[in-house]
Symmetry: C4
Subunit: 272 residues, 4 copies
């Protein structure tokens, strides 16, 4: 990871002096950073596929974004310019440094909330892919604080708990709900901690993984689990969730099978 340069601190340090987060150390350079070079074309293809799969599976609509860490340099990540995920092609993918500065933007607009991605990549060296979505069945859980828990083995990865991040608490005031600066991104990353999923009250969720297939799998089955958990809670006050030990084991076993849905989902979006 690269450190923020001096110039940014001078120009923006005052404004951030009273900011919400205790140590807003990292921040973005104003000058566009230099590219670390082209990413693996297969990784770019997978990033395009991830965007389309997440729409096809009902996790993303016209909003939300998914990114992947650059395969050549862990201090960079790749994400589409600001368009609807269903329309993303390889030509739309931009390179960002971890302060979420765009490399060679050429007038292309970036997602306002790219700081979600940059700050999580900084905080989580293990994370290779990040998804921010308005996953519909998940919204009611973020709005009620009802804990999302693993109802079946497909969503076993939820066993470590799914925290809810409240931007109002994080910022100490009412915001426009958007993670539009590094400080808010860091706060969200702190709430996420070492977990795979965090909900955002009144907004959506963030999902991370060690690869694009894993982050897509987790995004899809977080949505499915939320839908089915709501149905289970309506049926009975006594819902059995996976116990931590079995969830841990199930998560490990399922991890070995991710290629199966990934190949299916890719094929479905490629023939559209």
């Amino acid at each position: 990871m690269r450190h923020p340069n001096r110039r940014w601190i001078l120009t923006r340090g005052v404004a951030l002096g009273v900011a919400l987060i205790a140590h807003p150390r990292r921040a973005a350079a104003q000058a566009s950073p230099a590219s670390v070079g082209p990413a693996n074309p297969a990784l770019l293809d997978d990033l395009v596929a991830a965007n389309r799969i997440l729409v096809d599976q009902g996790v993303l609509d016209g909003y939300g974004h998914v990114s992947v860490r650059h395969d050549r340099d862990a201090s960079r990540y790749l994400m589409s310019r600001s368009i609807a995920p269903e329309l993303v092609t390889v030509a739309d993918i931009m390179e960002y440094d971890l302060d979420s500065n765009a490399v060679d933007p050429r007038g292309r607009t970036s997602y306002l909330e790219r700081f979600i991605h940059g700050e999580i990549y900084k905080a989580r060296p293990d994370v290779k892919a990040v998804l921010h979505s308005h996953s519909p069945s998940v919204i009611p859980f973020g709005a009620t604080g009802v804990p999302l828990r693993p109802l079946y083995h497909m969503s076993a990865f939820l066993w470590v708990g799914v925290p809810v991040w409240d931007i109002r608490t994080a910022s100490g005031e009412s915001t426009d709900m958007l993670v539009r600066n590094p400080a808010l991104g860091r706060s969200l990353a702190q709430t996420l901690g070492a977990r795979p999923v965090a909900l955002m009250r009144g907004h959506g969720n963030v999902v991370v993984g060690d690869s694009l297939p894993q982050v897509v799998f987790r995004g899809v089955y977080t949505e499915v689990n939320a839908k089915l958990q709501g149905q289970a809670m309506a049926l009975s006050a006594n819902v059995s969730y996976l116990d931590p030990e079995e969830a841990k084991k199930a998560e490990a076993s399922i991890a070995g099978t991710l290629g199966r849905p990934w190949e299916l989902w890719k094929r479905k979006v490629s023939t559209k």
Copy 2:
């Protein structure tokens, strides 16, 4: 926007003099008004797209209608003849004055409830597009009076409150539920007030915006919010909605992103 011309004011004044009396006959001129000239072709294309998008997104079925104010003259609006919205083409679009008289009808049938549109355009100079729908998830809210409230930032525009208009109260008697005359249209416009959305008990809703992309966006996310709010209320008695300040800010921020879903949605209906 151009100001309504003098003739319109005179006509309208008389019509408004007789409020919600039992049998308000049509106050406007019976003779077909003259056209103010052709609308911008791009606006007509967008109106066709709006019809199809609202079907594609599950807001409209075989019923409902969306209109746009004429770009040349604020005292006119444009809307399809009476057909299912999914079938609307540019050739079906008719011009109406604000008393909802059709210009050059040539035998084409008008929607019975066109007065919803005309009366809102009269009452709301800021409004450039109007949608009337039977948005399915919204119907249960209109029937129960449970307040529709913004569950997440995408539907922040609901923060000002969503009134429920009851045609039985408005007319003082049992009706056929249709807004089939100017007086009922005015009553609905009064209930709507300065807000973006009003529900119609036992019927549907009306949504307004400053453009077709905005009215479509609001129509879609009113439907989504209603669906998710029902789920949230089933999960817990404690649902957190956006607070007014954050909703206001979120609404302003989201307003700057409407082009993203609009381009997506247009492309989806154009390739069908």
Copy 3:
């Protein structure tokens, strides 16, 4: 309507002597009745369309059937041989007398429950089209006895009440749930009375109309109303339904608009 012939009474009268229903007067002739002649080709096309529309709109799945009274002779009706409604073509349509005897069956299998149609046509001279479905959202109402009521104007036709027919009560014993003889069909027709819809406990519903467009419209909006009514009841204990007077007026007004969804729905299934 033609009376059952003598021969049938002789051959079957004994078996029916101890049957479930008090006066099993009408019954079917063993010999295949003669045709009253070909039906209007447009009517046959509409019957094929009705089958496909009801699948497309989620009312029918692989089961269920829709029929229409013969345009030449009120004592005959037309219905497909026993195949899934989605696969019905004009060549599959058979002619039946009102005892549900097939004209010229040529080895084609008839729906076991055709007596639903024949007995309703006998009892209701006003009825020109009959639908029997397992309309999914309607099943829970039939199983609980919660009254289906008109939540909005589109389903105003439900205002007269929707009775639930229980085959166990009708037959006085446990059956295989199927309306597999004239007596059960008559019992169902009696429960239906002069109404447009009756539910069948543990089975589905029956819907009638004065035309194919009307029966299709009613089938679709019975399903939609059931779905939305369940949502409304979950939201609040105080649901406002249309009052009888407004429902009556709304039903009459909507009746004048049925061509709009019918044209749309026909076009959708014809381009598939």
Copy 4:
């Protein structure tokens, strides 16, 4: 059906000797068994169709599997290699002995949970087809223990009761939730007993039938029944299910009609 050969009985006898002990190693021969010869090509086509139909009808997603007993030898069954069911072709189908050893695997990966199939075929000579799914609407029933019961005649086969198998009880410890060895498969088969369906807590269900059309039919209507039963229970505390006698009769009658949806469903997946 042919009887299991002598060698199978010997092998199986030993394997069954060690029941649900903690670490049941594979009891069957490690060497790949010899083929009993090619299956009927029509049966293979039906197995491919069954996979695709179950996806098309929302019972399977990227996971789950369906198998059929070999038509030449009752001690063998046929199932796809480990890929998503939607992608299965005839070339993917492998032969297994009842210990779930693959015949001529040629490097092809088997489903980890194939023991579900093998052990049920052993325990149930009447069973010719087995489905394991994560049927979504069924998951909440498995997680709550709310009994799945037949709401209507289409799911009358549920009348004998739907037991819930808990892998934690079966194994005496927390597992990875997968039926990854013969002992767990046997335990599941014991819970299933003579019934058509058993739920698996925190996982999914298993469905059996005397043919592929029957197992597909049962898989589809178990899903539909679960969805509708949840809706019925939300509507009212008094839900009428089929009584045992009528369910028994209905099951028998419906059994004679399975060809109708099967032909429809096959046609739908073949034109995709």
